[in-house]
Symmetry: C2
Subunit: 398 residues, 2 copies
């Protein structure tokens, strides 16, 4: 089980720097969690993941359940050892993908599924009531995005799969509603998520008799302050080891909505904001008291040629880069910037070479990992607000 | 300019072990040359190429001419520095691809072009006289496989492009005929290849005033002993720094046909057998006096899940490997075998993950590179025939 300790709280904000001890190592927070959807961080070797000084890898329960199946992963020692990553690990509950890739199979969302990626945008594909055809209090019935076969996830099933996947930190099964769902639906959904949280906790306690896994409850509630606060009180009152904050936010309200929740959640447990990786959001969410973040955006963007720089994003496929023999960032210490020019990377993208994805992913992950490390350092030395302001001014040219 | 020296000749065979000094390092021969078609060894970083102890990388003139263009590569310091490889380098003449990917555009061959790979099989796509519509004594007109635009390669043009690409070793422009071409056509074609060899040599001498590049003449002649011998005499009599042996062979005659040529070629110049990478062929060609080999097969096969082992090839996509937690080869020291199980690699292939190609390519290149290194060692300690027999018995189960 995890041990969370807070090293420093930043006065005037909810930001904190701390550490999470797991049986596979210590995580310094705030931290960006690298996503290894199918027990591989796309286009990277484990050696490269380590070289990036990644602290923790998160895999997707939905994807590994479908392929290769949790029993194979279990026989491989759990998803960490299966992919030969021996640091701290997390799995999500599978709920988000069951809704967005599974239940919505056959409409636009399934196109996204082809890229074997999860995108927050998918939420907008939920039908307008936020009511998915096959969600009941018992669980969610969904079709596999791979072959269309029917599957049924319950909170118990999610715990059983996550037990087999064997991550250090797992998540309770929750209903992820559409941001366009009605207030009434969201309210009703919260009751279900509370019910599922309790069932998740029970099944987890039955399975994990050696207490090797830690479980995070998930706070939903859409964009409604009262629902978010209610969820923080009810779920936050249960015996979880940490909490995830799910759902979608707008750029403007993310700090506000997260603050509603974190003011209520117990201070002594880590808080993971699910699926967020945009620099501004990371600053705002840290300021509002979050400790962990995960997102496929850095690597997905990279595979499309969109690359983070301190002066904002660039699209390396742009014509002007084909003759630009400078580095992506002249002061960047990542493998890509240490070894290759913009012209070479532009060539690789235009020639559809796999190495393009590898090099761009390394840079983007390095960028976001170092950003969150710098945020942590700025909490410790009380320069957070200055760092935030100067970074954002440069990155967003605002 | 290169310096070739022979360390050891194996009695009773034409096999020899030696070394080639280039301005970018020394190559120990026999050697397998790693193919970096578009200035990237597909799916591998330069770090990984180095970790494989690759000695020399060959890029394709045709591909780099079309994308990104030789002027950009030149501005990047030549194709080695452009891709950040600072060891010895080679470029082919572009002739083979102009014929097989270019001139044959629109028929089956262009499908192959989509995979941006060159396959020896393409030769069979030449029309039945071996006469391509647009080959004249002046040069070859071809359509780009990328956009169908017309281009014209002459021996002079090939030299100019290869000068810009800046490799340590380059090839004269030759006509690569179809193995199904008539004897008369092949004979006529040899005259043209001889003419082109002289023009290549002349233009090379005009360009390379600093004598930084070495040039290899190319021996053609199909499967005809008299034509192969004539080519070896005429081309072999010109002032080249080494020789390439081109064309296609059958499994049975490769040693024989190569021996016809090597008996005549000057002994003190290196001999490169173009496009060959099958273990049996490597043994036979070394025995018949070849020093260098290049082939896309190890990496192309790898990307399709076909993996070399000392007991023959396996297809890692096979169902039985999904639950096989052993290594690909238990005694292999490559990165892949040191870190991953068959089950994990099988999962990556089935999940269409890029890492599958990377891990399989590392193993296959390691396998072939070490094979040719072992062949070299077996020449030095005079165990070549024993090594050949025991390897082949195991690999081909013959």
């Amino acid at each position: 089980m995890l041990k969370f300790s807070i090293e420093k709280k930043l006065e005037g904000t909810m930001a904190r720097a701390g550490s999470i001890e797991t049986k596979n190592g210590v995580i310094k927070t705030p931290v960006f969690v690298v996503v290894g959807t199918k027990a591989t961080v796309k286009a990277l070797t484990v050696e490269q993941i380590k070289s990036l000084e990644s602290q923790v890898v998160l895999a997707n329960t939905y994807h590994l359940y479908l392929q290769p199946g949790e029993k194979i992963v279990k026989d491989g020692g759990g998803f960490g050892p299966f992919m030969n990553w021996h640091g701290p690990t997390m799995t999500d509950s599978g709920g988000f993908q069951a809704f967005s890739l599974g239940a919505a199979f056959g409409n636009n969302v399934s196109k996204v599924a082809k890229s074997t990626e999860i995108e927050t945008d998918n939420i907008s594909q939920f039908d307008k009531d936020g009511q998915l055809a096959k969600v009941t209090d018992e669980g969610v019935e969904f079709k596999s995005h791979l072959d269309g076969k029917l599957h049924f996830f319950t909170p118990e099933k999610s715990m059983e799969i996550q037990y087999d996947l064997g991550a250090d930190m797992i998540f309770a099964f929750d209903e992820c509603t559409s941001p366009t769902a009605s207030y009434e639906y969201q309210k009703k959904s919260l009751d279900r998520t509370l019910l599922w949280a309790k069932r998740s906790l029970n099944r987890h306690e039955e399975l994990d008799t050696k207490k090797e896994q830690s479980i995070f409850g998930v706070i939903q509630g859409g964009r409604h302050q009262d629902l978010r606060e209610e969820a923080a009180r009810t779920i936050g009152g249960l015996d979880f080891d940490g909490f995830g904050i799910g759902g979608s936010f707008t750029k403007d309200d993310i700090g506000t909505a997260v603050a509603w929740v974190n003011k209520i959640l117990p201070e002594d447990k880590p808080r993971h904001l699910l699926g967020i990786g945009e620099p501004l959001d990371l600053f705002n969410a840290v300021e509002a008291g979050c400790d962990l973040f995960d997102c496929v955006a850095p690597t997905r963007m990279a595979r499309h040629g969109t690359i983070h720089t301190k002066d904002g994003r660039i699209n390396i496929r742009n014509q002007k880069f084909t003759t630009d023999f400078g580095k992506i960032e002249s002061d960047c210490t990542c493998y890509t910037c240490s070894n290759h020019t913009r012209a070479y990377i532009a060539h690789l993208f235009r020639a559809d070479e796999m190495l393009a994805s590898t090099l761009a992913s390394i840079h983007n992950l390095h960028f976001i990992l170092r950003l969150v490390e710098n945020i942590r350092a700025s909490i410790l030395d009380e320069t957070f607000m200055e760092y935030k302001n100067s970074f954002i001014k440069k990155y967003y040219k605002s």
